[in-house]
Symmetry: C2
């Protein structure tokens, strides 16, 4: 499908992409770069890709370049790779925010490079080049957010690439993506990080008790709150407006729920708890559970 794919960043998503590309033989060559020397060394050991120690060198001759590092690193990377991108190449990414990515990357790009930001909705709480696996994207959605005037041929090619990696593809406006993901991913992570922090700080309940009795629901939050800290810091620094909007709604709803608990309003509690059950059923039916 491509002659030469370059992956910038070899954590969970970058290494999974390397495996997914190999699984279906989607490229003749895969080049990998990571800012961390340890990650580059490990990626070379496990033969993830041909490893380069310079991002500019890594993208030379590549038909498809995918940024797979935390979104806070994109601006500097874009400046470093832009002069080396070949004309006609597709530059994409896997970042969890999209408006900020366009803001940070687009200004550096030469004419003739097709910039098509994307976001595969897939992941685990694991990080690093050993965490990747080929089936991570199977049956998951990948959202592509083409900037105005994007090349239709390049878009079709990137769509085929993600479909060959196992995903279903949806094309979306960047700002809408950021709002949808604030709801389905960013605020849930913020809430999970927050409640794990609360449990850690609560004086009257020991950490040993929190750990022992975590099977009652808390442990599921700790899994989410074990996600990569730098990646998630960069998400919240780069999707502030949408996160604050959704969080405002969450807080309003929680105030009402808190009042229902205080008032002993069993009908209100039962109504909500019954309604939320239906959404779970829809997710199972959509095979996203």
């Amino acid at each position: 499908m491509f002659k030469h794919v370059t992956l910038i960043g070899l954590g969970l998503i970058g290494s999974s992409l390397a495996h997914a590309v190999k699984r279906r033989n989607l490229a003749e060559r895969i080049t990998g770069y990571d800012v961390s020397e340890n990650v580059r060394k490990r990626a070379a050991e496990i033969e993830l890709a041909a490893i380069s120690s310079d991002p500019g060198d890594a993208v030379k001759d590549a038909d498809l370049v995918i940024l797979c590092s935390p979104v806070g690193s994109y601006k500097e990377l874009a400046a470093a790779i832009a002069p080396h991108l070949k004309s006609g190449a597709i530059l994409s990414d896997v970042g969890s925010v999209k408006s900020a990515v366009i803001r940070d990357v687009a200004p550096f790009l030469p004419k003739g490079v097709h910039f098509l930001p994307a976001h595969p909705i897939a992941g685990t709480e694991q990080s690093g080049p050993d965490a990747g696996f080929a089936s991570l994207f199977d049956h998951r959605w990948c959202i592509i957010t083409p900037p105005a005037g994007a090349d239709a041929g390049a878009l079709a090619k990137l769509r085929q690439f993600w479909e060959a990696c196992g995903s279903q593809v949806e094309v979306m406006d960047p700002a809408h993506h950021d709002l949808v993901l604030a709801m389905t991913s960013h605020v849930p992570h913020l809430i999970a990080y927050n409640i794990v922090g609360t449990a850690h700080d609560l004086e009257k309940v020991t950490e040993g008790e929190v750990i022992k009795f975590s099977a009652g629901g808390f442990r599921d939050f700790t899994r989410i709150a074990a996600s990569d800290p730098i990646m998630w810091r960069d998400v919240f620094l780069n999707n502030r407006e949408a996160v604050l909007e959704v969080l405002g709604r969450f807080n309003e709803d929680l105030s009402l729920l808190q009042r229902a608990v205080r008032d002993g309003n069993g009908d209100a509690l039962l109504e909500l708890f019954t309604r939320t059950r239906a959404i779970r059923r829809s997710i199972i039916e959509a095979k996203q559970a």
Copy 2:
């Protein structure tokens, strides 16, 4: 271990207990009762236990009676079964709150019945008599909260019973149990129900989008928010003080986190996100993941 065990309530926990008792042959007879005729019929079909249609009849001659229905039903059940409990019998339960259970049940009990409330920290989001399985309690904790002056021999016997069901046992003060569980189970459930409700109500993001893109974190909350609505209504109606105390701390922490997002305070975000990761590691090490 017992001649005759009676299970009142044949949902996930009651039916799992029936399977666990059979697995290790912990009783010569198992009797089951449920308020729902459909559940009684289904439980009889799958031969979960000898099914009785009257709670008073069900507990006659039983050495161990365990209430496995939503805690809001306990008061009425206690009144119904108390005259039929045999002297020397142990009456226990599996409810997620303990102070309210003692308040509701203890006044009805005749002398000579050993009342030992308990709470196995185990569950799934499934409900009903078909949801049970024998290994549900394996490696999980069961907390017993004996009232003042409880019989040491009866307590030892109930501890052995839960250990034979696969659990580790901890003895705890009822009020402390309620606070610990508010943190590790009740507030996490309330938060999960709340965020699923927010997603449902948000006008700018369609329900189809929420479902499609739920793999980014949201789907884990929907699993928790699919738990039995009546059981959870009763938890919040019966552990109000502890839930409001923990929720108050959660809200304080969330306000600080919201401000960090608004201010773009990457250091504060990174500090929290790194700290919460360590708790996950402890839970994995404690084999509660």
